[in-house]
Symmetry: C2
Subunit: 214 residues, 2 copies
């Protein structure tokens, strides 16, 4: 499948690299594609890179891996038209590091980044997913407890959620994908970040995840 | 031990009832103690009830089980002096139901109810705990997966956290109590509520909890 990755930080590189490894046609978009030369060289041509707009045009499915504070801007640069009628997997968290550590959220409680994106790009089928964990875990759940832990997603379009669920299971190996409902659940998913950051502090490692026990 | 319970809703009754069952000397404080007659009659004298101030005076350890929106007021009525030098287990969530469902939080992101309480009652040793789950689960973790799931707490006083941890393990049967650090972690614990509420919606039952997988 043609995959567009918006953002070339750790998350974008990890997801893009893994999907290329799985045989997908991956295009990573960045505000500064020149900076990706070394990374691309290491991948021996398996991934293309260019602008955000090129990545959005390329993808049949697009991942928002930009920093949450700049996601709405980056998506506008990527192009509303290029994102129309496509599934956009929103992995970003609206973290504000400007006031020091720990970061706070730029939006929460009565709104969320996921909802803002869906409202700003009404023709795009937004699925919030993968934002509740470390990048390495996103693409390799088996590294913990044989993969016996949970990934959460939400969005307004059931078909989009089914497609993303299949991709996450097939390519990344997720055993359990829990659908939290409409895009309003992005609020809870993003607001769980301060809790995650405390656990990170306790374990001094981001290699952990939640399992819902019933 | 002499235990004071502030608040006589489901949480206060559940925790108070369980600790009385364990042999503790429990006093439940309410703004309207007259309403507790029927409940007290069912307990055959094992629990006393009266005002918030009486409960605060009675307890060597005190549980804040009041509704979060009114907790600061209720604790002032209970009496700063009576709460001084005592451990206060803060179980409350600052939920705002006034704008309909789902509730939002009255304070979050840059502050929390747990922090507000600790700042307002500096002589009290506040431990935030038990707010991330349903009342029945608080006192009976064994009902799920043989108790193999996690309870979280935080606070500025290590001795207070040790005492609360021991109580939770011994009387309620918790196997895993995770210390998230100082009272600032109350932010993450309270902000996890919207996520919890979505899971509640998915399962149509509050009988679930988190297990951290590493």
């Amino acid at each position: 499948m043609k995959v567009g990755i918006l953002g070339s930080g750790t998350v974008g590189r990890t997801i893009g690299g893994k999907l290329a490894e799985c045989g997908h046609d991956v295009f990573v978009g960045s505000r500064e594609p020149g900076k990706l030369k070394e990374w691309l060289a290491g991948l021996k041509g398996r991934v293309q890179a260019g602008t955000l707009a090129e990545a959005a045009r390329h993808g049949e499915i697009v991942f928002n891996c930009t920093a949450g504070a700049g996601s709405l801007d980056a998506l506008r640069v990527a192009g509303e038209g290029s994102l129309a009628n496509k599934v956009l997997v929103d992995v970003a968290n609206p973290l504000d590091f400007s006031k020091g550590m720990p970061p706070t959220l730029l939006v929460c409680n009565t709104d969320s980044l996921g909802e803002q994106i869906q409202r700003s790009f009404p023709r795009t089928r937004v699925v919030k997913a993968l934002n509740t964990m470390n990048a390495l875990l996103m693409v390799d759940p088996a590294q913990l407890a044989g993969g016996e832990h949970d990934l959460f997603l939400c969005g307004n379009d059931d078909g989009a959620k089914r497609q993303v669920t299949e991709l996450l299971k097939k390519e990344f190996g997720w055993k359990s994908v829990i659908d939290l409902g409409d895009i309003g659940a992005a609020r809870g998913m993003e607001m769980s970040l301060p809790f995650w950051l405390r656990l990170y502090g306790v374990y001094q490692s981001p290699a952990f995840n939640y399992r819902i026990v019933r």
